[in-house]
């Protein structure tokens, strides 16, 4: 029982992060029908930006600002930084190829991914660095009642993800920009004819998706501590899987998919094998694709014959 409860907590934490990453894939795919494979790298850069800000502010052992201000600050700066990286990627790697066949931006995305990894290797080196978040907030703080162990950091990760996702949902439904994004997704040419600046909409989409990845990167650093230049690869793959399971292009789908992958991973580690848990995760993906190719919340694509 204790283990089960713990695995639920772990799955929820991991799933929240995957959901945030999955949202970036879904937003971009929804608008451009493009798989942004450099997205995992944006998450990694966000994590490093958070680490950098933390060091500038005195490090975890003796931060120069109170923890209550520090954590939101890390996330804000990382969101901004990662968002700008995302915008730059779109401007230089995808926009010139927007009219080319779909394989071209895909290759460009992979190239960008390696470029960003190598750049971070140059800038920060290959060593794994640690946020040392246990010095910010003691890991034994939080709720420890009976079988339930949930640290303050984990509560924060789950809470912040929930708030961000609800906020994004409202933004997409209510705001003018959100509507413009949905319109562009539905029919970019018609949207342009209606007087929408498609380039601007695409830019905002990339900024939003990348900012979410930046926040996820910082939270990953805070709860899992270790940051390194290749961390984005697997995280990106899982986020992508999550968005496919949820139905790529759908925002609710990305959230649900993230949680499913998070739970699958934590239960597979706890009850099956810590060696082969990734196999379980991708079996879930294959199972979903076989039985429901469009994912949980995906809409089947209508084609005129």
């Amino acid at each position: 029982m204790a283990q089960f409860v713990q695995l639920v907590v772990n799955g929820l934490t991991l799933g929240s992060l995957y959901a945030l990453i999955a949202l970036g894939y879904s937003l971009v795919y929804g608008v451009l029908k493009l798989l942004n494979f450099a997205h995992g790298e944006v998450y990694m850069i966000g994590s490093f930006i958070g680490y950098g800000v933390l060091q500038v502010l005195g490090g975890s052992a003796s931060p120069s600002v109170p923890v209550g201000i520090l954590l939101p600050l890390l996330m804000l700066v990382a969101a901004l930084g990662a968002g700008l990286v995302g915008v730059a990627i779109e401007r230089f790697a995808y926009r010139p190829l927007r009219q080319s066949p779909r394989i071209a931006p895909l290759v460009s995305a992979l190239g960008t991914s390696f470029f960003l990894q190598a750049t971070m290797l140059l800038v920060v080196g290959a060593r794994i660095v640690r946020y040392e978040s246990e010095k910010l907030i003691d890991v034994s703080s939080g709720i420890h009642a009976g079988v339930l162990n949930i640290s303050v950091m984990r509560m924060m990760v789950i809470g912040v993800s929930a708030v961000v996702m609800i906020g994004l949902n409202i933004f997409m439904k209510r705001s003018k920009l959100g509507k413009a994004m949905r319109a562009t997704s539905y029919d970019p040419e018609a949207a342009q004819m209606m007087g929408m600046d498609v380039n601007r909409v695409v830019m905002v989409t990339f900024f939003l998706g990348s900012a979410l990845a930046g926040v996820a990167g910082v939270m990953s650093g805070l709860v899992y501590n270790r940051v390194f230049h290749t961390m984005g690869f697997v995280a990106g793959l899982k986020g992508f899987t999550a968005s496919v399971v949820g139905g790529i292009g759908s925002i609710q789908g990305a959230m649900a998919g993230g949680l499913i992958i998070g739970f699958a991973e934590s239960f597979a580690q706890g009850y099956v094998s810590t060696t082969f848990y990734d196999v379980v995760v991708f079996v879930v993906l294959i199972g979903f694709l076989l039985t429901r190719p469009r994912g949980l919340f995906g809409v089947p694509e209508l084609k005129k014959v």
Binding site: G125, R130, N225, H229, T230, S266, Q269, T275
Partner: protein, 442 residues
């Protein structure tokens, strides 16, 4: 147990390709397993190392310290107090002319492992200077930079072999280098003592003139098992490997050792690049007394320990020598092994440590002090062959080396070699983390 401490250091510093669980240098090790490398293998090795080095090199500044660096070296000779561990007093040499000889010194003085190489260089210089002072000898090093590269080491070894005035060699540092220089050394019957190569196979008989002053990898599993069973008094132990050859090998040898001590062992395994260890940690049962981590990345061990605490688990964490890193691994109360002790905590080393700190700095780890001992060992061997101020033939020095006994060394015990070239009764050391510092406990 294929990766020696040097490569482990190296592995932590080279880039990993996405999706591959093991660092790239592992390829190198596979290439180096052979006894004598074929040309193709050498080429492949060079390529692998160049690739790794190019990638690492760009991320770190290459230290361009030449062989004759360290300005403080001169002061070391004057400032160093008489070593407490001075080898046999010079009673016979008092009348005759001082014995004068050259000893080769191979180490990674530049390149990616330069921080370790420079530490080794400084400790070696101090060791030889102390020996000269205490024994009235006139021994000098011929320094050769290997860059932790078997190809460089081979070239360097050939140079030293062809220099007839060189009668013994200190080094090289890495196990892969020792294997590479083996044929040249064996042909010349030239004694060489490594201060840091731990690969077990090196002393299996193929390298007759080789010896080392550090334990081989086989000693680690039993050392850890004995400590956990007796000092931590754990009845049940969880061993988690990190899916590298170093880790699984060490985990296997520890598992076998635990069985002989009647300790129940559970095994788990997790990839180095896994994001989250908390689900693995949830499997640690309440009756598990200790978790042994034969890992290469200290930051990972730190994270796993933190998550144990987060989930209220009481098991004690014991890390292998790959985790030894006061900067990255500082779990209060945890234990960590090392192939040499931190000599700051060894009583008999106090005077030497003070001299070193005065001449150089306090930034040394476990790689330097064994070099001091290796220098003593070789100098002692050369001196016993000395006649009329001249050293004996290389073969004589090699024979003498195997008989040297140092009664007390800065590593905290006597050093004598068995017929294979391993230190008799060599063991790994265990330190405990107390107040963020490592304290030697066994």
């Amino acid at each position: 147990m294929e990766i020696d401490p040097f490569l482990r250091f190296y592995c932590e510093n080279i880039p990993h390709r996405p999706g591959s669980a093991e660092p790239k240098t592992t390829t190198t090790i596979v290439y180096l397993k052979g006894e004598i490398m074929t040309k193709g293998r050498i080429a492949a090795t060079l390529l692998a190392i160049t690739l790794a080095a190019t990638a690492c090199g760009s991320s770190k500044k290459t230290v361009t310290a030449g062989a004759t660096t360290a300005a403080p070296a001169a002061s070391a000779t004057t400032a160093a107090p008489a070593a407490t561990t001075a080898a046999p007093a010079a009673t016979t040499a008092a009348k005759a002319a001082p014995c004068s000889a050259k000893i080769g010194f191979m180490g990674p003085f530049t390149g990616d492992a330069a921080s370790i190489g420079q530490e080794q260089l400084n400790w070696g210089k101090l060791g030889l200077a102390d020996y000269n002072k205490a024994n009235g000898t006139d021994f000098a090093f011929v320094e050769t930079d290997t860059k932790l590269d078997p190809a460089e080491a081979t070239t360097g070894a050939q140079k030293l072999v062809s220099d007839n005035s060189v009668v013994a060699i200190l080094g090289p540092a890495g196990s892969q280098e020792v294997e590479a220089v083996g044929p040249a050394m064996t042909a010349a019957n030239l004694a060489y003592v490594s201060p840091s190569a731990t690969r077990t196979s090196l002393t299996a008989g193929k390298l007759p003139s080789f010896a080392r002053v550090v334990p081989n990898d086989d000693a680690q599993g039993p050392t850890v098992a004995k400590f956990i069973a007796e000092k931590i008094a754990a009845k049940k132990v969880l061993i988690i490997d990190d899916q590298t050859s170093y880790s699984t090998g060490l985990a296997d040898s520890a598992t076998a050792a635990f069985k002989t001590l009647n300790v129940t062992v559970a095994r788990e395994s997790i990839a180095q690049k896994s994001t989250d260890f908390s689900s693995l940690v949830s499997k640690v049962t309440d009756d598990t007394g200790a978790v042994f981590l034969p890992w290469q990345l200290a930051a990972n061990a730190q994270q796993l320990g933190t998550q144990l605490k987060e989930q209220g688990k009481k098991a004690v964490v014991v890390g292998s020598d790959g985790v030894y890193s006061p900067k990255d691994f500082s779990l209060e109360g945890a234990y960590v092994t090392s192939f040499a002790p931190d000599v700051r905590g060894v009583a008999s080393a106090a005077a030497v440590v003070a001299a070193y700190q005065k001449a150089y700095d306090d930034k040394f780890g476990t790689f330097g002090p064994p070099v001091y001992v290796a220098a003593q060992l070789l100098a002692t061997a050369v001196k016993t062959t000395c006649k009329d101020g001249k050293p004996g033939a290389r073969a004589d020095v090699t024979a003498a080396m195997k008989k040297v006994k140092l009664d007390n060394t800065i590593l905290g015990g006597p050093v004598a070699l068995d017929d294979k070239g391993d230190v008799v009764g060599a063991k790994f050391y265990l330190s405990q983390v107390k107040g963020g510092k490592y304290t030697l406990v066994a």
